[in-house]
Amino acid sequence: MFEFLKNLDKRWIFLLMFLAVAIPVYVVGKTGKAFPEVPTMLSESTFQAVEELHEGDPVLLSFDFDPASEGELGPMATAFVKHCAEKKLKIFFMALWPVGPQMIDDVVRKVIDADFPHLVYGEDYVNLGYKPGYEGVIKVVITDLRELYTTDDKGTNIDEIPMMADIHSVQDFELVINVSAGYPGTKEWVLYAVTPFPDKVKLVAGCTGVQAPLLYPYIPEQLPGLLGAIKGAAEYEKLVIDKYGGEHPDPKYLEAKRRMGPQLVAHLLIILLIILANIIFVVEKRRERR
């Protein structure tokens, strides 16, 4: 047994990981049950940043992610859009990642088309689309949005979009919401938008687990709200649904909360694997000493 564990074929670990995620996904999917969530301060302050805006305030949602990180960020994007739509804010979408517009399309279909069909494109929400250039894009739109975005994503002239009338640069938005999977993303928004214009630009973000620890030094001065990984998404979902979900919330708005099931089992597996590896390490050392 000891020898088997010591020379464990990594495929056994792969199999355990597969089961640790697949079984809870199945069970949660079948039963619809999920663990309760208690929102932390950071999720609360992110929620409040949107909550304190008024009807008609313009918000910029930059979706800087792709399908590879949709598992973590998709639920945040959904919850942000639902929250903004419930608050009757003017929603402006843009993307710094080439596949970002697809992420915008998905969320618009899932939230706006399905549950807010009265919102009019160009008056209540607009998709400005993607521009290549990484932080170079932020560097331009922070002072002049129209020089780069001459048309929206559909090719409509920017001057003919009613809700663009008062928007000349990113400084004209009441809030910037960034959903970020890496470079360029939240860090670049902090570097090139918030820091040079601290009184004009307010940013909250949802980001992947990999980025979250790296962004903490910006909190709260440069980044008042941050949702870290799937847990942040689940907490924010709860806040939005508690306030706007009604008695029987649509389960599509509780995706992150459900995903916390597989998350728990897999985290325990990782901990057990590390402990097991250390037991093997100690036993082996003792044997060597003998």
Binding site: F14, M17, G133, V140, G155, L264
Partner: protein, 232 residues
């Protein structure tokens, strides 16, 4: 000439952006430089595609080992490129029905959309999902509590892993309210907002100085490594 011109361009491009930061009147120049940069970033995508084409065409023509896979890559590349550039199956923009190519390049239902939805998306997403397996295997192989430093690392990781799920709440729910700061989910918050912030802030300050000095070396022409060896 081969070196002087690029060095001048580098310095000009960089200093225009720096000056624009401090002098509002020069902001327009900074924007122009940034927009040109954005355009070149788009051209870089074309360059990337061209490079891929070049490498895989050569592999196929040389009949190198695994050239069949290069053939698949080329086919996938060319099909996606043609349907995307020609907007195959895309309807015009409803406001401009007379202009055939005015529609969105990724219109739902078009072949380009199909390739994204059913090839690009599942493939890239699954490739990244594989990391879950590798991180489990790495956790089993790499982490040994050999000394204080390693114990600190592992202990923190355990608290975070437990504290960011319901397991943390469940394990320390018995603690009285006066000791709520010791509940795992609260420990997680303190670790992140104090210890992690301190560590990452120090790293950040170090990296910032590194980037600033590297950038300055490039702009002043001290670091010319990006110009290559000059043998070309």
């Amino acid at each position: 000439m081969k070196r002087a011109v690029p060095l001048t361009i580098t310095a000009l491009g960089g200093f225009v952006l720096i000056v624009a930061y401090f002098i509002p009147a020069a902001q327009g120049w900074g924007e122009i430089a940034a927009i040109w940069f954005d355009i070149l970033a788009a051209v870089a995508f074309v360059l990337g595609g061209g490079n891929l084409l070049k490498i895989h065409l050569k592999k196929v023509s040389d009949r190198k080992g695994g050239w069949g896979y290069s053939g698949i890559t080329l086919a996938a590349f060319l099909i996606t490129l043609v349907v995307g550039l020609a907007k195959v199956g895309v309807n015009p923009n409803p406001h401009f029905p007379e202009v055939a190519l005015s529609g969105g390049y990724r219109e739902i239902g078009s072949p380009f959309w199909w390739l994204y939805e059913y090839a690009f998306k599942p493939l890239t997403a699954t490739m990244f999902a594989m990391l879950a397996f590798y991180i489990a295997s790495a956790a089993f192989r790499a982490f040994r509590a050999k000394n204080v430093e390693a114990i600190l690392l592992l202990g923190t990781a355990f608290i975070i892993l437990l504290g960011r799920t319901f397991a943390g709440v469940y394990l320390t729910a018995w603690l009285p309210d006066s000791l709520s700061g010791l509940k795992i989910e609260n420990l997680t918050i303190h670790i992140m907002s104090v210890l992690n912030t301190a560590g990452n802030r120090a790293i950040m300050i170090g990296i910032a100085l590194g980037i600033a000095s590297t950038s300055l070396r490039v702009l002043l022409g001290i670091d010319r490594s990006y110009l290559g060896t000059g043998k070309q």
